[in-house]
Amino acid sequence: MGIGGSDMYRQQILDHYKNPRNYGELEDATFTHVGENPMCGDEITMDVVLDDEEEVIERVAFRGDGCAISQASASMLTQKLQGMTVEELAELDRDDVVDMLGVDISPMRIKCAVLAEKVAQDGADIYFGEKDLDKSSTEADE
């Protein structure tokens, strides 16, 4: 089809859209983050549980609404992230997401595809950023 329409909607994408994996909440989440893609009205919240050293991702869950691309991408990402290190999460880029989805994503839809990845990364950045701040402010207090 070339101009990028239903090529994106391969069976795997539709399957993850209709039967999302790891959908829901994690009450013991180390951090939770929500993000939106205003163009589609997609919204995704991700809960991430880290190990005690806060280096490895143990469990991930997501919830949200939006287009099939954004929701399937979130579902697949929850599986991919389990067992990854926080550092590996930070290094993920859009090519990794496109590889994970296994289809060509048209340029106008790339924001849908990478929303979940951004939510997870931003959540980690904010969590560790605030921890650093807490540390430095505590140090300053001392």
């Binding site: 589609c40 287009c67 099939a68």
Partner: protein, 415 residues
């Protein structure tokens, strides 16, 4: 163009003026149903733009040379032509060329609103406002302490006019309403709203972005104090918008942007302002775009705006019927049988509007998907997004059939 006296459009003839409609994607002819976002440009307007740059291009109101004189006269006369198109008897002094509808809204909000509004004052909007007016007045209200009120929408997509009469009070300074909703297709009774506004000493601002391109609009029949619209939705180029304002109001208003062109006398201490409308057109204006907009007005008047209106409604009614017959498509706005602007927003059950749009693209059907710059309205409708098909003079019922068939492809894919 010599259209016959018939009430119908000669669509085939019109389509010849729009070569872009012949484009094919993977062997499928483009079905362009995103006219509410931007319309296509007919050959006479494209020619006008090319001709201007080939023969006349110069800055206006600056040079005494021949080219500058020609460009200046053509640019000034374009204001007169646009004034005539919307029934502004004051001519060019009542027509300010801006960048788009949004800038026209901002011009009044900044130049009038910031100076005139205070904590006791109210701005009354409708629940179906486009962000162009909603966000603008909301922010001006925050800065001035004024209050924004919203006239409710009934279940059938029309304005609750009893609620309008409650909302508009002696504290109301401005009523700003969209003439034709870009999401619901509702045609609002702006003349009645203007009467209510004026009874309370308020101004009436009409957002004509979807109405001026698609139906006869007469600012004096409406008794609008302001009217805003965009060139690119009415066969003109992008980069040109219009603010109509009653002359005596524009004359009292402070400038919006400062700089060259808008001044009369400048010293190191102070400056005085140019005559209308140049007082509001700081810097080098959109010269070619303004001249091309006047050409677009000619093109539309040759077709006849009442014919445009009927054609728009005919296609919208047909689309509504076809979409509703499917059983799993929800449409928004007034029900079939009520006249509306030439657009239908809808959702296919279980398929997100953006997925739908991507799949329709496979059949070369171009629609809009998203919140159409009416997020609060979508919240009220209980959906994050919708798909929207919007029509213009070159669209046909066969194209609506292609839309419906392409929706069926999406239905099968997601089944």
């Amino acid at each position: 163009m010599g259209h016959s006296e018939s009430t119908l459009l000669d669509v085939e003839r019109i389509r010849e003026d729009f070569p872009i409609l012949q484009r094919e994607f993977d062997g499928q002819r483009l079905v362009y149903l995103d006219n509410g976002a931007t319309s296509q440009t007919p050959e006479p307007v494209v020619e006008c733009i090319a001709d201007y740059y080939r023969t006349t291009n110069a800055n206006v109101h600056r040079g005494l040379h021949q080219l500058s004189q020609e460009a200046s006269i053509a640019y000034e006369e374009a204001h007169d032509r646009v004034a005539e198109f919307v029934g502004a008897s004051g001519g060019r002094e009542e027509i300010v060329f801006t960048k788009n509808t949004t800038e026209s809204e901002n011009l009044v909000a900044y130049a009038w609103g910031l100076n005139e509004l205070g904590p006791e004052d109210e701005v009354v909007l409708t629940e179906m406002e486009h962000h162009a007016s909603l966000v603008t007045w909301q922010q001006i209200a925050k800065r001035t302490g004024a209050t924004c009120k919203y006239i409710r929408i009934e279940d059938d997509g029309t304005l609750d006019m009893d609620h309008a009469r409650e909302c508009i009070t002696d504290d109301t300074q401005m009523v700003s309403a969209v003439h034709v909703s870009n999401t619901l297709g509702t045609i609002n009774p702006v003349s009645e709203l203007a009467d209510i506004a004026h009874d309370h000493g308020a101004y009436m601002f009409v957002d004509g972005a979807q109405s001026v391109p698609t139906r006869p609009v007469d600012v004096e029949a409406i008794d609008a104090d302001f009217l805003a619209f965009s060139g690119h939705k009415m066969m003109g180029p992008t980069g040109i918008g219009v603010l109509y304002g009653k002359k005596h109001i524009l004359a009292e208003m402070e400038p919006y942007l400062y700089g060259g062109e808008m001044i009369k006398k400048v010293t190191y201490e102070d400056a005085t302002w140019n005559d209308l409308p140049w007082k509001f057109e700081a810097g080098t204006p959109p010269i070619c775009q303004g001249i091309a907009l006047a050409e677009a007005c000619d093109y539309l008047d040759d077709i006849g705006m009442d014919r445009v209106r009927r054609h728009e409604n005919d296609l919208a009614q047909y689309a509504l019927e076809q979409l509703e017959a499917t059983g799993d498509v929800e449409t928004y706005g007034p029900p079939a049988g009520t006249e509306r602007g030439g657009l239908v927003a809808f959702n296919l059950e279980s398929v997100h509007a953006h997925d739908l749009s991507s799949i329709l693209n496979d059949s070369a059907v171009a629609i809009r998907a998203g919140d159409h710059c009416t997020q609060p309205l979508h919240d009220k409708l209980g959906v994050a997004a919708s798909a929207r098909a919007s029509f213009y003079v070159y669209n046909t019922r066969e194209e609506v059939d292609k839309l419906v068939a392409a929706i069926d492809d999406a239905r099968q894919l997601f089944a």
